[in-house]
Amino acid sequence: MHEVIQYISSYLTSDKTPGAAGNMFWAFVYIMLVFLGLSVAVIAMNWLERKILAHMQVRLGPMRVGPHGLLQPIADAIKLLLKEDIMPAEADGFVFWMAPLIVVLAAFTVFVVVPFGPTHAVTDMNIGILFMLGVSSLSVLGIVMAGWASNSHYPLIGALRSSAQMVSYEVAMGLAVVSAILMTSLNASGTGTLSMIGIVQAQLAQGEWFIFKFFPLGLIAFFIFAVAMVAETNRAPFDLAEAESELTAGFHTEYSGFRWSLFFLAEYSAMIAVSSIAVTLWLGGWLRPFPNWLSGETWNQIFNLFPGVTFLFFAAICFYNTVRMPKHPLFRIQTLGLAGFGVVLGLIGLILFYPPVSGRMQDVFWFSAKVAGFMYMYIWYRGTFPRYRFDQLMQMGWKVLLPMGLGVLILTAGVALLQEYLKQIWHL
């Protein structure tokens, strides 16, 4: 018994990820935490997307289920779980059954290497970024399977579109990633890293986010990635695979109920996954703004306040809206619910002020905040852009992004070499 406790507690003092420390228990705990957090994030994303999109479109969005529709995602989840699970008679049963599982597995597996903080990752793989790109590209298999197994025309076209799209954008994406990885090798030893944690530490060591490195090269690489990642996740304006006005719902036309919700879950977690890649590679991962310039104890203290303040701000919004609720008996429960939600948020905020917690959670907060910025961009794109046509999409991928990516890669390598060379001259 004592050994078990020691095995569990030994990790708490370690400064490595559970995977690297070889601690199975904490690895499991982290996996569970990531899974839970991801599910909550998807639910929150669902609500936020509806709300933000609604306000962009001069309407209110969900308002009925819970105060300001806060319980709407839960109601939807229950609805989806209770729905009849339909499988077309002519479908290929096993493949039809496997497809959503593969998509979800691929979408969730990538989070094994996502670094929420220097120690907040399930494990730190030597090939982290390669692993992420590889596993997230597996989801295309699930999509193709889904489209083919449905044995119907719309899903098949959707699947073909989706696979062609993903494969072609992966190339541009890979080139952009490589140019960022090149930047990690600009240190004394001259060796770069593929590890997600290593990449962020390289940014810390070099004192700037890679998006600003070799301006504008880093920015262009980031831009290429930002476009390719929208295409990778099949979101507007690249949502041709599920363009509802053309293909009804694309590859998941024949899916319903729980299986459909698996696709939904996978789509949103894939969005979060690619955003985490972008944040890790270009936006400094878990690093808070200006970690080197505004360093020192006082600045640390100030930035430690941010997570708590953010949650208190959300709580304040809740309370403000509680006061604004109509004073009608029918609204009493809603008012109470909103106030209760505000209290929960406020409590979370207060806990985050507690120094040990804030010290440990700060990384996670900054990482999540950056990812949330990307999520907002996703919604924004959806509200603004019309959909690309398939040939235009391909043209964009192969004729614009790919040459740009190659050019950026070559230029980055060239500039890096030039820098080294100049350094040598000056030192001599």
């Binding site: 479109q57 507007a236 006005s245 053309e246 959806r382 019309p386 690309y388």
Partner: protein, 384 residues
């Protein structure tokens, strides 16, 4: 026929080129339940991969026999039925019908009624174009304009509701004039709407006109030449976007359109983008017309002298008006009794829909959606 316009071999609906890889082309059945067919249109697409080799439209899912009903109703009783054809432009339908019967009866509506008719039909044109814009943009993937246009269309519907109590199938006009006098503050509300609406057109244009994806999706998509348009009898904005300056309001003025000053916007290429621009410009022209009509709204009676029991002299009349979607014509044969002997409607949507095959051939599936949207069809009118 030796007219080259009507013997164009490329309009042959049967012949289309062979697919590339697979011997059997992919046949997709789009509709009648499909999010982008604007009702119950069924399109059978013959595809080679994503390329459209040819398509056939199957219509009739919404057939209610409006023309036949007309033969069994008195002239007055049939009036509300026509609203149900193009239900997003009900006022225009009513205007066309009333004017046709008025010509049969040889009466003319008084000037005040004419003015109010022009105001309401032009408002209707704006409403119809707004609905078109919203759904067309939605089909192409821009989901936001839909809500903007519906927000503004609401203001027009409010005016209708105040005027005649109905929002959609208004039954606003009567044979010989109007039934209702305008309500107090009608002019002011219409003017308020115009000042409200003018910046809104700019807003729509801001969202779409220079949007790169929008331009890429609509330029050079669904091109139809002026000759093809004439061969098919296509009318309305689709015809004008191909560069033919034909507008019934100018060509054969009805109501009192000749008193108003407005332009006919035309396009050059006959592609989807031009049709979009033409319709946007038409909304601005409609605003101009309404403004003039409201300013010059005369006093006077609103109903001409028509008999309680209408028995037009035996004969036949074809009269057409410029509905939002194109030339809307009514052909009514009277045998001197209280009921028409034959009613035939020339619906613009139905005629325009024929051009779909030619416009889509060789394009991609996504373009079919864009073209269906740009034709601005209403299935209630196609099927009647």
């Amino acid at each position: 026929m030796t007219d080259p316009n009507t013997t164009l071999s490329h309009l042959d609906p049967v012949a289309h080129e062979k697919p590339f890889l697979d011997a059997n082309e992919l046949v997709i059945n789009m509709g009648p339940q499909h999010p982008a067919t604007h009702g119950v249109l069924r399109v059978i697409l013959h595809l080679d991969g994503e390329k459209v080799l040819g398509l056939e439209c199957v219509i009739g899912y919404l057939h209610r026999g409006v023309e036949k009903i007309g033969e069994h109703r008195t002239y007055t009783m049939f009036n509300p039925y026509v609203d149900r054809m193009d239900y997003v432009a009900a006022v225009s339908n009513g205007l066309g019908y009333c004017e046709t019967v008025e010509r049969l009866l040889n009466v003319e509506a008084p000037p005040r009624a004419q003015h109010v008719r022009v105001i309401l039909t032009e408002l209707n044109r704006i409403a119809s174009h707004q609905l078109w814009l919203g759904t067309h943009a939605l089909d192409i993937g821009a989901i936001t304009p839909l809500f903007y246009t519906f927000r503004d269309r609401e203001e027009i519907l409010k005016i209708y509701e105040k005027y005649c109590g109905a929002r959609l199938t208004t039954h606003a006009f009567r044979i010989g004039g109007l039934q209702y006098e305008t309500y107090t503050g009608f002019e002011k509300e219409v003017k308020n709407f115009l000042t409200f609406f003018r910046p809104k057109i700019d807003e729509y244009e801001e969202l779409l006109t220079t949007n790169r994806i929008w331009v890429e999706r609509t330029k050079n998509v669904g091109i139809i030449s002026a000759a093809d348009c004439i061969a098919f009898g296509v009318s309305g904005p689709v015809l004008r976007a191909s560069g033919v300056k034909w507008d019934v309001r100018k060509a054969q003025p009805y109501a009192n359109y000749k008193n108003f000053d407005f332009d006919i916007p035309i396009g050059e290429n006959g592609d989807t983008y031009d049709r979009y621009l033409v319709r946007m410009a038409e909304m601005r022209q409609s605003v101009r017309i309404i403004e003039q009509a409201v300013d010059a709204l005369p006093e006077g009676p609103i109903m001409a002298k028509v008999p309680k029991v209408m028995k037009p002299p035996a004969g036949e009349v074809y009269h057409s008006i410029e509905a939002p979607k194109g030339e809307l014509g009514y052909f009514i044969v009277s045998d001197g009794s209280t009921q028409p002997y034959r009613v035939r409607v020339r619906p613009p949507s139905f005629v325009n829909l024929q051009a779909l095959d030619v416009m889509c051939r060789g394009q991609l599936v996504a373009d079919v959606i864009a073209v269906i949207g740009t034709l601005d069809i209403v299935l209630g009118e196609v099927d009647r």
